[in-house]
C-alpha cells in the first residue's frame, strides 16, 4: 500500500517527478562522465603504450604518470642502452603537448617500425620528408583531414599529412623526431626511452641493469607502467573526483529538499487526512523518504543513460581528444551517492510533514 501511495503521488505530478529525477541525474552523469573520462583516458594511454611493443620504459626523474615535462634525457643514452647485453633495441621519443589532453610525438620511424611492427596505414604512408606528419583515424575524422593535406595548428608549423594510420599505437600525432626536437629547442634530447629485450625472460635482467645504469630515473616494465596508470596514481585526480562526488551529493540534496518541500506543502491536507486515519509520524516520514528514494533510483538510472549519451556525443564530436569509458563498477557508487543526497534532502521536509498538526493540516487550503 505504501508503494502504491508513493507511486500514485509521483504520477500525480509527473512533471515535478520527472524534472526532479532529471536534476538528480545531472550529478550522477557528472560523476560517471568524470570517472569514465579519467579511466578511459588512462586506459587509452596504457593501450597506446602497450602498442609500442617495448618491454621497458625509461622516464626522466620526477615525472608524473600522465605527463612529461620537456625532453631532459640526452639522446646519446639510447646508443649506450642499445649496446647493453640482452637489449634487442632501444628507441627514443620526444613528446610535446598540443592541447591540454593531447601530445605530438617525435619518433625515429625506422626504430619504431622495428619495435612495434609499424603503423597500419589506412591512407597514405610513412614520412617522406622532415615536415611530414602521421595522424590517426580519430584525429583525421575530428579535424576532417586526409593524406596530402597540410596542417598548421600543431606548434604553428606547416605539416604535410603523409599518412592516416589505425589508432592505438603511440600518439595520435607522430612527426620525425629531429624536426620536433629542433622546433621545441630540444635538439639531442628525448622525453622517454623504450627498450625491447632479446626475449621475455631477459626483461627483469635488463630492468635491473637499467636501474643501475640510470639511477634516479623512473624505469618500469611496460606491464608495471600500464598497471600504474590508474586514477589513484595520478596526482590530484582522486581528490578532484572526491570533490565532484561531494558536489553530486549537495546537488542531489538541494534538488530533493526543494522538490519534497514543495510536495509536502502541496500535500499538507493529505498529510492531515492520513493523520486523521491514525497514521503515525514514522508512517508519514516513511512515505516522503520512499518517494525520495524512488526519485533517487530513477535519477540514477536516467544519469547512467545520460552518461552513455555523453559518451556517444564525445565520440561523435571529439574522437581524438577525449576517451570516455563506461564504468559499470561506478553505477552502484553513483547510485549510493545520489541516494545519500536525496535521503538527506528529504529528511527535513519529511520531518516537517511528520510533525504537522493534524487540525491545521486538515484546514489547509
Amino acid at each position: 500500500m505504501t508503494a502504491r501511495l508513493v507511486l500514485e503521488n509521483l504520477k500525480h505530478k509527473p512533471m515535478r517527478s520527472l524534472l526532479s529525477m532529471f536534476l538528480i541525474a545531472v550529478p550522477v552523469t557528472l560523476i560517471l562522465c568524470l570517472v569514465g573520462l579519467s579511466e578511459g583516458m588512462l586506459a587509452d594511454s596504457a593501450r597506446r603504450a602497450r602498442g609500442i611493443g617495448a618491454d621497458i620504459i625509461i622516464r626522466p626523474p620526477k615525472t608524473s604518470m600522465l605527463t612529461l615535462s620537456g625532453a631532459p634525457i640526452p639522446e646519446k643514452l639510447i646508443d649506450a642502452i642499445d649496446q647493453k647485453p640482452h637489449v634487442a633495441l632501444a628507441m627514443g621519443m620526444i613528446s610535446f603537448p598540443v592541447t591540454s589532453v593531447s601530445y605530438v610525438s617525435g619518433i625515429d620511424l625506422a626504430g619504431f617500425n622495428k619495435m612495434s611492427g609499424g603503423f597500419r596505414y589506412l591512407r597514405g604512408g610513412p614520412f617522406r620528408g622532415p615536415d611530414d606528419i602521421i595522424i590517426d583515424e580519430y584525429y583525421a575524422q575530428q579535424h576532417h583531414l586526409r593524406a596530402g593535406d597540410t596542417v598548421t595548428e600543431i606548434l604553428n608549423h606547416p605539416w604535410h599529412v603523409s599518412g592516416v594510420a589505425e589508432g592505438g599505437k603511440l600518439a595520435r600525432l607522430a612527426v620525425p623526431m629531429r624536426t620536433l626536437q629542433d622546433l621545441t629547442g630540444n635538439t639531442g634530447k628525448v622525453s622517454q626511452i623504450f627498450v625491447k629485450a632479446d626475449k621475455p625472460s631477459d626483461i627483469s635482467t635488463v630492468l635491473e641493469e637499467m636501474k643501475e645504469f640510470l639511477p634516479g630515473y623512473n624505469i618500469y616494465t611496460m606491464e608495471e607502467f600500464t598497471s600504474l596508470l590508474t586514477v589513484e596514481n595520478v596526482g590530484g585526480l582522486n581528490t578532484f573526483i572526491h570533490v565532484m562526488v561531494g558536489i553530486g551529493v549537495v546537488i542531489g540534496f538541494a534538488v530533493v529538499l526543494l522538490s519534497m518541500y514543495m510536495a509536502v506543502l502541496q500535500r499538507t491536507r493529505e498529510i492531515g487526512i492520513l493523520k486523521s486515519l491514525g497514521a503515525s509520524r514514522w508512517f508519514i516520514l516513511k512515505i516522503i523518504l520512499a518517494e525520495a528514494v524512488v526519485m533517487g533510483i530513477g535519477g540514477t538510472i536516467v544519469g547512467i543513460g545520460l552518461s552513455f549519451a555523453a559518451r556517444a556525443l564525445i565520440l561523435a564530436l571529439y574522437p581524438a581528444s577525449l576517451t570516455q569509458a563506461i564504468t559499470p563498477g561506478w553505477w552502484p557508487i553513483a547510485g549510493a551517492i545520489s541516494l545519500a543526497g536525496v535521503l538527506l534532502g528529504a529528511l527535513y521536509p519529511g520531518l516537517s510533514a511528520a510533525n504537522q498538526d493534524p487540525i491545521e493540516a486538515l484546514a489547509y487550503e
Binding site: M1, E8, H12, K275
Partner: protein
C-alpha cells in the same frame, strides 16, 4: 445503568493565538451512550468543532476529562492519540477529504493498512458498500466521483475498521439537498442496522432531525 460510551466532564480547551489565550471550551459535560446518533448544533465559534477534535484525538484538552469506552483519553500522548484515531474513531469531514491520488477502493484500503489490518475488508463489508451505493465506483479516483459519492466513500473509509465512534463534521455541508438526504439516510441506516454510534456536527436543523438527540453549544458550553 451501563457506562456511557463517551463521558465528557468539565472539558476545557484554550488556544494560544499570539500572546492571547482564547478559550474554545469552557467546561463541557456530555454523556453519549453506545448506539446513539447525536447531533451537535451551534453557531460558528461555539466550540463544537473543538469538542469533535478532542473526542477524536486530533488535539489534547487543556483541562477536564474525556473517557471513551472507559479509557481516559485526556492524558494520552501524541502516540496514544494516534492509536485512538487508528482503532476507535472514524472521521467524516465536510470536504470529504479523500486522498486524490488513490482510487475510492484504495482510499478505504489505506485506512485498513494504517490500522494494521488486512487490506481486504471482511466479506460483510460488501453489504455496507451496497448500502452506501458505491460498490461499482471503487475503481474510480475522487475526481471522477460526485460529491455525494465521495462523501459515501469517506463514510465507508471511516467505518471500515469498526470504530466505536463515527465523528461526522458537517457531512452535508458541501452537498446539494438530494445528496445531503442520501448521506444522512446512510448515517441513520448505519446507526440503526449496525448499531454505529454517530456524533454529527451540523448547522442544519433538518440534518439534526435525523439524529436521536440534539445538543446545542454556545460560547464553549453545552446550553441545551
Amino acid at each position: 445503568m451501563s457506562e456511557p460510551l463517551i463521558e465528557v466532564r468539565g472539558l476545557r480547551k484554550v488556544y494560544r493565538v499570539g500572546k492571547v489565550d482564547v478559550p474554545a471550551l469552557r467546561g463541557v459535560d456530555l454523556d453519549v451512550p453506545t448506539r446513539e446518533f447525536l447531533a451537535i448544533v451551534g453557531p460558528s465559534g461555539s466550540g463544537k468543532s473543538t469538542l469533535f477534535h478532542i473526542i477524536g484525538g486530533l488535539t489534547p484538552a487543556t483541562g477536564g476529562s474525556v473517557r471513551i469506552a472507559g479509557q481516559d483519553i485526556s492524558s494520552l500522548t501524541d502516540a496514544g492519540r494516534t492509536e485512538l484515531r487508528k482503532q476507535k474513531v472514524g472521521f467524516v469531514f465536510q470536504k470529504f477529504n479523500l486522498l486524490p491520488n488513490l482510487t475510492a477502493g484504495d482510499n478505504i484500503a489505506i485506512a485498513r493498512y494504517i490500522a494494521g489490518r488486512d487490506l481486504k475488508p471482511e466479506p460483510e463489508f460488501e453489504e455496507v458498500l451496497k448500502l452506501l451505493g458505491i460498490s461499482g465506483r471503487l475503481d474510480h479516483k475522487p475526481a471522477a466521483l460526485s460529491g455525494g459519492e465521495q462523501q459515501r466513500v469517506a463514510i465507508a473509509r471511516a467505518i471500515v475498521n469498526h470504530p466505536a465512534i463515527l465523528l461526522a463534521d458537517e457531512p452535508t455541508g458541501n452537498l446539494d439537498s438530494e445528496n445531503s438526504c442520501a448521506v444522512l439516510d446512510v448515517l441513520r441506516d448505519l446507526n440503526r442496522r449496525l448499531g454505529q454510534t454517530v456524533l454529527m456536527i451540523t448547522h442544519n436543523p433538518e440534518a439534526a432531525a435525523f439524529a436521536h438527540r440534539t445538543v446545542r453549544m454556545r460560547d464553549g458550553r453545552i446550553v441545551d
